[in-house]
């Protein structure tokens, strides 16, 4: 196909751009979780479980981009 170059770039862009937002958000989340654990070590267990779940929810956004990337790659 003559469009395969464009599709390859589109797939790369899909995963690259969709990584940006969630990675910043994950960094901020981990930062504030660490701060609150340092301030209140007793609540570390609760904070950790909430942290992991919120990280996984942000991860999902990147995964959507990854899915689109795979779908595009399969079109080449």
């Amino acid at each position: 196909m003559e469009n395969s170059g464009i599709i390859a770039i589109a797939a790369a862009m899909a995963i690259a751009i969709s990584t940006l937002g969630p990675s910043i958000a994950q960094g901020l989340t981990a930062k504030s979780a660490m701060e609150s654990i340092a301030r209140q070590p007793d609540a570390a267990k609760d904070i950790r479980s909430t942290l992991i779940i919120s990280l996984a929810l942000m991860e999902a956004l990147t995964i959507y981009g990854l899915l689109i990337g795979f779908m595009l790659i399969s079109k080449i």
Binding site: I52, I53, A56, L57, E59, A60, I63, Y64, L66, L67, F70, M71, S74
Partner: protein, 223 residues
């Protein structure tokens, strides 16, 4: 989504059995076997095996109790725990050597059809649970702050199961694909890096899926 699976057996001429379905059969067999063994050797003084299973069930009970409250979590425990156990077994099944490398056995949750099925089951369950709880509350929820929110809230109801299905599928499928690519680069050693990460993510995805279902359930059945 243009997903293609190779049909391995055709049952009765119209049921297509793919690698994912065979993987699901094996997992169902293992879960049934474990439950039967535990059920038949149930004792007042638990042995080693019974202790492990009891710890797991207690963990699940506490986990759902935290989000739903003791009374509601006990009421819906069977559905939520079944969902959790099935998802975690299917996620971990992808880590066995050879799974996904052949056409015959694949991790069930690496296929969109399976996760979409789980999403639809969850959707129906939430509607029924909401209606059985209180019909008035069920309909009031769609117009709760303002009347013009109705289309958005209806859309939200459909997006919930879709995002659950896509999240689970994307994570497991992505992991499997990355592991396979690493295998092609360097067959010995390289896939292990991704597989160690998968050990964490597989459990996490099962936790997130059931956690979200229990949060949605809490929403539809609140007093």
């Amino acid at each position: 989504m243009g997903e293609k699976s190779k049909v391995i057996i055709e049952l009765f001429g119209f049921l297509d059995v793919t690698g994912e379905v065979i993987g699901m059969w094996i997992i169902l067999g293992i879960i049934t076997l474990i439950s039967l063994i535990v059920r038949l050797t149930l004792k007042e003084k638990p042995g080693k095996f019974q202790n492990i299973i009891e710890t797991g069930i207690e963990y699940l009970d506490n986990f759902f109790g935290d989000t739903l409250g003791k009374k509601k979590s006990r009421k819906y425990f069977t559905f939520l725990a079944t969902l959790f156990i099935f998802i975690i077994f299917s996620n971990y099944s992808g880590l066995f050597p050879g799974m996904g490398m052949t056409e015959f056995v694949k991790a069930p949750t690496s296929s969109l059809s399976v996760t979409a099925g789980l999403g639809i089951v969850t959707f129906v369950f939430l509607q029924i649970a909401g209606l059985r709880h209180s019909v008035k509350h069920y309909f009031k929820r769609f117009v709760s702050p303002m009347f013009f929110m109705l289309p958005l809230l209806l859309l939200d109801e459909i997006i919930k199961p879709a995002s659950l299905a896509l999240r689970l599928y994307g994570n497991i499928f992505g992991e499997e694909t990355v592991t396979e690519e690493l295998y092609h680069i360097l067959p010995i050693g390289a896939p292990a890096v991704m597989m160690i990460l998968s050990l964490l993510f597989c459990a996490l995805q099962a936790v997130v899926f059931t956690m979200l279902v229990s949060i949605y359930l809490d929403e539809v059945t609140e007093e």
